[in-house]
């Protein structure tokens, strides 16, 4: 059977017209779908891209932003998530004091912080608090005539003194069977909430700033991930999300604050916020609540009757890197 071919010519003009119509239709359909979709993630992502810096938002805009996030997180994590926007309380300036003599290095504070603040659980395992194990210094009269200690150069008393505070790389991840260890003391470190924070000064987009109650916060949506603040922080207190954070649904803490423990995204910086979602509601931080030896004290630096002011008044207080004039509001003390 012979099939007769009908001659049908498509001109270039027809082809281009058809293609452009198809393109316009596709764009219109996509826009329509995005505008009308019930998918909270799509809506929020679209709106989040165009929202302003949190600090410059009106109260109405802040509420809208929080609402969008609540919808998205609730859908993503399968539970009712709240994103708080409580402002700083008037007449409050938070300060923190840690009794370095009492700390037993159990790292319960680290784990409580991870759980409370929705930090990535693995790859990478992000921790805002580090507890560094350091060797205790000691004196051994029997070593008086044994020359100089290795790696520590000439010291008074020859080899009889073992220098204090020697930390080996990786001891941040020490795993002892029992704490406290006999020959160690422990040095927890986290964001110092500096009165004059260098991290704030270097941020090119002003996404990190100091709140009136002294907490240095980050608007994760405005962070461009340049890591300038990480380089500027003399206390190594900031963490970078190299990958998409791994936060299991069942472990997610649904009580969040916009500037605190709400789930973060890949490529943004995060750090301790003195549990802003708790402290602004009159609660202690998670690390204070969990500390089994009561080594951690917290309070309002403007109130002479607060725990932290009493520590400053009555105890021997130390601070790190005083010469930098960052004026940390996190103090170490001994009884």
């Amino acid at each position: 059977m012979k099939i007769k071919k009908t001659e049908q010519k498509i001109t270039r003009r027809d082809f281009l017209r058809g293609s452009s119509s198809l393109g316009v239709a596709s764009i219109a359909a996509t826009a329509g779908l995005m505008a009308n979709t019930d998918d909270a993630h799509a809506k929020t992502t679209w709106a989040e891209w165009f929202q302003g810096n949190y600090r410059l938002m009106t109260d109405e805009e802040k509420k809208e932003a929080a609402q969008r996030l609540e919808n998205r997180y609730s859908e993503e994590f399968g539970k009712q998530v709240t994103v708080d926007t409580t402002e700083a309380t008037d007449g409050v300036l938070f300060g923190y004091a840690l009794n370095i003599q009492k700390c037993i290095g159990c790292r319960r504070c680290v784990k409580a912080c991870v759980r409370e603040n929705n930090q990535s659980r693995h790859n990478s395992e992000i921790e805002w608090i580090r507890v560094i194990r350091m060797e205790k210094g000691s004196f051994d009269a029997g070593k008086m005539d044994q020359g100089y200690p290795e790696d520590h150069g000439i010291q008074v008393g020859g080899n009889s003194y073992r220098p204090a505070g020697v930390v080996l790389e990786g001891q941040h991840y020490y795993e002892p069977d029992k704490v406290p260890e006999e020959d160690a003391f422990y040095f927890p470190i986290q964001c110092m909430q500096c009165e004059k924070p260098p991290c704030v000064k270097v941020c090119p987009v002003r996404t990190t700033y100091r709140e009136p109650d002294g907490i240095v916060v980050i608007d994760y949506n405005w962070c461009i991930g340049c890591r300038m603040c990480i380089g500027a922080c003399p206390y190594w207190a900031r963490r970078f999300n190299w990958g998409e954070p791994n936060l299991p649904k069942e472990e997610m803490n649904p009580e969040t604050h916009y500037l605190g423990n709400r789930p973060r995204m890949k490529g943004v910086v995060e750090k301790c916020t003195f549990c802003i979602q708790r402290t602004r509601k009159g609660r202690y931080t998670a690390c204070i609540e969990v500390c089994p030896v009561g080594a951690r004290k917290f309070g309002n630096l403007l109130d002479p009757e607060s725990e932290v002011r009493k520590v400053l008044d009555r105890k021997r207080v130390f601070r790190l890197k005083a010469e930098l004039n960052t004026y940390p509001k996190f103090f170490y003390f001994v009884d």
Binding site: E7, L93, G95, I132, P212, F240, L301, Y327
Partner: protein, 97 residues
């Protein structure tokens, strides 16, 4: 079909255009494949590297921090510091700073 002196029948499809579209399609497929492969390889690599990258950020700080040690704050200095916090707070509230 026989062509004489460069003339061709008007309904004959252009070989040049056909070749162009064929080339474009091939290039598109190639680019998509290479991009996909690259993304897959990058994904596989970074999956392993996030923890290492995080450790490179954090662990060196331990050593540096302990080298600086603690500095005790004298009572007078403590008083001055607390007063500075209070003054700073008041100034910020009144917009002086």
């Amino acid at each position: 079909m026989l062509k004489l002196f460069g003339f061709k029948k008007p309904h004959e499809p252009s070989q040049a255009r056909r070749l162009f579209f064929k080339g474009m399609a091939t290039a598109g497929v190639a680019i998509a494949s290479i991009t996909g492969l690259g993304a897959a390889m990058r994904g596989g690599k970074t999956d392993r590297d996030y923890q290492a990258a995080y450790d490179r950020d954090v662990v060196p700080g331990d050593k540096i921090l302990q080298q600086n040690g603690f500095e005790e704050i004298a009572q007078q200095e403590k008083d001055e510091m607390v007063q500075m916090f209070i003054d700073d707070y008041e100034n910020k509230k009144t917009g002086i700073s």
